[in-house]
Amino acid sequence: MNYDFKVVVAGPFASGKTTMITASSDDPLVGTEAPTSGDEAGVKALTTVGVEFGSLSYEEDGEAVELSLYGVPGQERFSFMWDIVSVGMDGFFLLVDASRPETWTNSKAIGEYFARLSRCPVVVGINRVDTDDPAAVSRVVDEIRHAVSMPGATYLTFDVMDRVSAQNALMELLLLMLEQELRDPILLEAS
């Protein structure tokens, strides 16, 4: 049995979407970046304005799984791209920047926007947690679980720059997507 899942990665401006897809993709990322201007230029030099694409494949016990990763721009002015890219998505990955609480309401708004577009499985990936202390980490996760509440979502912390960490985060979403497939009676019949 082969699986091919479409995953959309979204989150606020400068939350790490392009970095995450670059880190986890098997092939070089196909991106659409443009130089920033105005206030955004003070945060970083380039921003995604269209869509970016990466892919990741796993093979286990003769079963091949391919994840197609689609990154979308974070700024509200590009929300028409969210509508376009979300068509047919099997899983949704929402990025939250733990180091910038002022962006959390924006994360929540983006999450809610996508939740209206699709009822697929959701992972909320919390990036830039600057502590290793388990108690402190779980405090941050609880805070974000409250501030960026997404019904039914799995919350995890990870590092977008680290290939293994980013791939593990996507594995969590993959498991949710596989569960969803197995619950779907039509697909069970087809297999």
Binding site: T32, G38, D39, A41, Q75, R77
Partner: protein, 137 residues
């Protein structure tokens, strides 16, 4: 060139005039917009209600156009043309950080459009640096 010395306000006024004269030169051109590559309107004579959303759509399309150009072996997109039921929407590169969009009605002469767009691009290009407010704060 004196363009580096002009203020943002002067550049805005001048680019507005350049876009207006394009519409006067070609009566079937119904509007034009200069957008930054990251999706902000820099100058426009479209309805103000459409400026912001149009600039973002143009930036996305233009970035995807660059990817299309790569299929053809080049990384530098110069022009994109969309033909629809009521006319054309043309996008032209203005340097590497901005794009000009021209909205036309159905029977526009595409050769004339190309020529006038080329004049407009060379008039706008030196103004682009002054139109940006980079690195504010």
């Amino acid at each position: 060139m004196t363009s580096q010395l002009i203020t943002r306000t002067e550049a805005q006024a001048e680019s507005g005039e350049i876009l207006a004269s394009l519409c006067t030169a070609l009566p079937l051109v119904s509007g034009a917009l200069l957008a930054s590559a990251d999706g902000h309107p820099l100058a426009s004579n479209l309805d103000s209600s459409r400026e912001k959303s149009s600039a973002a759509i143009v930036a996305s399309s233009f970035a995807l156009g660059q990817r299309l150009a790569e299929i053809g072996g080049s990384s530098e997109v110069q022009e994109m043309l969309v033909r629809h039921g009521d006319g054309y929407v043309a996008i032209y590169a203005v340097g590497s950080d901005a794009a000009l969009v021209v909205v036309t009605m159905q029977n526009v002469n595409l050769g004339m459009l190309k020529l006038k767009a080329a004049h407009t691009i060379s008039a706008l290009e030196p103004l682009v640096p002054a139109l940006f407010t980079r690195g504010v704060q």
